[in-house]
């Protein structure tokens, strides 16, 4: 059958029905697509408190500020310890000084090496946070506060 004959053989109503089906199919497909997007949406998970800081060998100097956990990581003869880098006044980042004290550049609060407030406006000491090992990597838990004397052995 030639192409011309084939075309002539197609039922006109069938063509129109096909067109109408396509018209219906469009909103159904669009609606289904949006519904699938809705099903696939993943709401934000609960805020994590444990953050992997990395392998100590990857840090060339101490103390080092680790943005992943928002902590200052120190090393001394007893091992490692982490100090919360979030100022207890209004939440700015504090900076470790050469004498291991801390200074907040936002409002001028100063903290001693053990976290005590030296100069206001802050009134609450800096927190020391729990460190643990995960394989060869250090992990900090921002929800767990420890005594400033606690060290994690190397």
């Amino acid at each position: 059958m030639s192409l011309k004959e084939r075309i002539q053989a197609i039922d006109r109503r069938a063509v129109l029905r096909g067109m109408v089906n396509v018209i219906w199919a469009a909103p159904v497909a669009l609606g289904l697509g949006q519904f699938l997007k809705f099903l696939r949406f993943e709401p934000p998970t609960e805020q994590a408190t444990r953050f992997t800081l990395g392998s100590p060998g990857s840090f060339t100097t101490f103390p080092v500020y680790l943005e992943s956990g928002q902590v200052w990581l120190f090393q001394d003869s007893g091992g490692y310890y982490a100090v919360d880098a979030i100022c207890t006044h209004l939440g700015c980042t504090v900076y470790a000084q050469p004498d291991s004290s801390f200074q907040c550049r936002c409002h001028g609060s100063q903290f001693a090496a053990d976290g005590r407030v030296l100069v206001g406006p802050a009134t609450v000491p800096l927190r020391f946070l729990q460190l643990s090992w995960d394989g060869g990597r250090l992990v900090v838990d921002r929800a767990l506060q420890v005594d400033p004397s606690v060290r994690l052995s190397a």
């Binding site: 669009l30 805020q47 939440g91 409002h107 100069v119």
Partner: protein, 459 residues
Amino acid sequence: MSFHKRKLAGSVGVPITLIIGTVALTGALLAAVNRQDNPAWSRWQDNPQVRLITPTLNGEAELCLTCHNGIEQISDSHPVDTFGCVVCHGGDRLSLDEEVAHTGLIGSEANPGNPADLSVVEVSCGSVDCHSGDVANDRDHIERVTRSVQASYAGAINALLDLNGLAQEGVYYGNLAVSDEDVVNPAAVEALRRFDPESFDNPAVTEFAEECLTCHVASQTVTDEPYYHRGTGCSSCHTVYARNGLYQGSDPTLSQTETGHAATHELTTAIPYTTCNHCHNRGTHDLETLTFTPRDDLDGVEALSGSERRMAELYTADSTHYAVCQYELDCIDCHTANEVMGDGDIYTNEADARRVECRTCHGTLEESPATVTLEDPNDVAFRRARLNPFYDVFVGNTVLLSPDGDAMGHIRVENDLYSLSSKVGGPTYLIPQVMGSECEQDVERQRAADCQECHTYEP
């Protein structure tokens, strides 16, 4: 139904209304998908993406920077990562629709974007734990400002009432009703009543209210003329406005051709004379005739630069006398924070609130200026120095003491030399001392004009 429509519908056995409805539904869905994929906010970014920050101050996520992408950080003391936007500006933190996001903005009626206006400042800058969160007199900035003559406009108001025979013994008025149970300065008063022009039923008061009540930090400027553009409330002084009132920053949503915006979205304590000049030195006011004669000596000033422009803008052409310090320094180098923002007391005129005199820095024939050695690291002088990018002060430094006991950290004393570091980035100025000089100073005459009789600077 037309012939063709009837024929089509009949030929497939489907009602024509269903077909039309289906097509309309398709169109609506396509429009919705397009709106979702190309939201209105995407026009503010080259590579559109939702920008979410979670300020450490409150841990509440916000999306404002999705549109206000590139806006200047308000100050180093208010980092956006710590404070975000909503804690000061209000609004709907999670909406990306302009109208919804801006619902509940903290601002004045005239300027919804200014949360520092005195009408709303108690829930923004003056919130608890912010600038009114301390009971100490010098920390409750909002209370200080609302009691200050810059906010109360008490000088002009009470002078007007006095001129028109309306003053009452012991009763004073201001733009805002304020009271003070702990009056420190003998020149201060216990309260100001709110000035209600209508209650006086006097034509002069009515005219004053209509023409003159725009000159205080609680009011919005009413003219679009150059120089007059300024903020209100805290931002009257702590934000810089360009002479033409145009925004010059990087927030794509803010117009750069519409006047009335701060030059940038930044706060400063290094307040230049140009900020004071939005209100001061704008012309001559006369309370007797209730007239204001604007300056007419500023033509061509834009062609000048540096000290020449400063001189032309700062002093009117008929000001022929000024000492060198008045020429080289900025207003805030002498007029202290206590004087300008208020010291917690209520004054009925500016002269009572004034603190620094010529002898504060230059001393007298018999006495050197009062000084103090800063020992307490919590001294307010350190906080002020840290907020200002142009001078430092350290524990152990000896600095000048203002007559009201305020350590002036920008004026250091070393080896009997008094040096002033400009708070606005100007030169360091070695302060000549009267003691040991041939000065014919009369210690009781301390107005600038008294000293200018001899000390007149010739450029």
